[in-house]
Amino acid sequence: MEDSLLVDWSRAQFALTALYHWLFVPLTLGLSFIIAIMETIYVKTGNIIWKEITKFWMTLFAINFAIGLATGIIMEFEFGTNWSNYSWIVGDIFGAPLAIEGLMAFFMESTFFAIMFFGWDKVSKQMHLTSTWLVAIGSNLSALWILVANGWMQNPVGMKFNVDSARFEMVSFWDVVFNPTGYSKFLHTIGSGYVMGALFVVGISAYYLLKNKDTIKAKKSIVVGATFGLITSMFLILSGDESAHQVAQHQPMKLAAMEGLYDGHKRASIVAIGQLNEDKKIGDDTDEFIWSIEVPYALSILGFHDMNAYVPGINELVYGDNDGHKIISAKEKIAKGKIAIEALKSYKEAKKFKDDVKASAHLTIFRAHEKYFGYGYLKDEKDIVPNVSLVFYSFHLMVGLGSWFLVLFFLILYFSMIGKIEKKRILLYSALWSIPLGYLAGELGWIVAEVGRQPWAIQDMLPVGMATSQIATSAVQTTFWLFAIIFTSLLIAEIKIMFTQVKKGMEDH
């Protein structure tokens, strides 16, 4: 049986590593394209100032890339040590996308990286520009394959569970690659990286304008950053809409938690802003919110692209709803899951005694209940509900910040175009202080995605409690604190090196 302390520490360690890794990835994704755009302007115009601008941002890109390098590999270590059941079970599915990532994207990225940094006077302008674009494309392709894997965990498709090897085996590679949850997640995630890159360029450029330093280059940079940010912010809204639509289809509990929706409705509203009632319990009659401002119909439209659509709440998903919506209760799913587990156990024993007739009969029972397999490990029907407060506030804060970034980019671009940006000091300070807010929004997005799908490691198939290895909790605690110290030190190093470079100004890079 699961050791809840071990599961909690394993989850905490993975969360720490993933959140830390995500401090570096978005800037790589976004800044790489902004640099490519800046260099394109240089090649098109021949204006040497654009070369200097490109080289400055490239230096900051390199700092971020170097400090972030290999932080993701820690998660692979954790899979093998802390999450061995999970690693074994998904090995066949994850092998292909991760191998493609390693072979194609990573090598493309790293090969052209050298030309991008060392090749300024060694190769032609066109060759250098091509390399810069390929670094950007390679970075983004790396993200594609990781997010295909993550999307599969949220919505497992294109696979079949092999009862003899205890592995999910890939039936259709293309179903896995074109999993709608995977690609909507990819688009939304890279979109957030682009916005982060834009916030970084706009924020640092704003700093120079506030200090009255390198103003010509800062003004040119801020226009590129704000334009890129404005376009990608709109893209982020569209991809977020598709992402929420996929959540509604495949992870209704996550959607209910995102909106603090306890009772399902037709023509459901979105809570634009509100305060959850912390005393609210699943199944009781108390109000969900202490106060809230709602947008009518918006949740039905967001989730199902239909203003009259019914959106199930936490209560319906836990207790079921036979009132026309045919939602099976968690209790019933748990019972079906237990039948699947028992059938798998009996199948295994029948195979051991080479009784093929019995084995076949048990396998038929297993397949009939396989859909609810993971539920059989849950102890209580309420276990299917994630931490509603954390998911709700993370989601709403993320959306609020995303909206602010859109307004910020618009204002920055507008005042830049009319030549008054230097006089708008409050706006410039806001841009500077929006850099950490961009990081916060990205991390909140991951909290929504990953906390919102609890208790599942693989949606409906494998709860986190069954995914862990049987190792000592103290070993996980030790490495948790080791990572916390190393990661914090690296983060301090990055901030220090970055600040030093920024303070030097945009000359001589």
């Binding site: 270590f77 040590t81 090897s165 205890a166 190393i486």
Partner: protein
């Protein structure tokens, strides 16, 4: 022809490394991470549980199945 291509690639890296400014510090950080993450962490703190404790894939799948079906 091939010699010149290799010579060009070689000098790209050599000159690139020689002329690095902040890059030298970054390479030191990358080397530090390589030692700490790959050599120390992986070897001493993160052994692959299934590879360390079982010799064959059959044993590994049996172990996982055992975990999945024990009451």
């Amino acid at each position: 022809m091939i010699y010149n291509i290799f010579k060009g690639i070689f000098s790209l890296y050599i000159d690139g490394f020689k002329n690095m400014k902040v890059g030298k510090l970054l390479w030191k950080i990358i080397a530090f991470k390589f030692v700490v993450f790959i050599l120390i962490m992986k070897i001493f703190f993160f052994p692959n549980f299934l590879k360390t404790n079982f010799n064959t894939d059959e044993q590994r799948s049996s172990h996982v199945l055992e975990n999945l079906t024990k009451g």
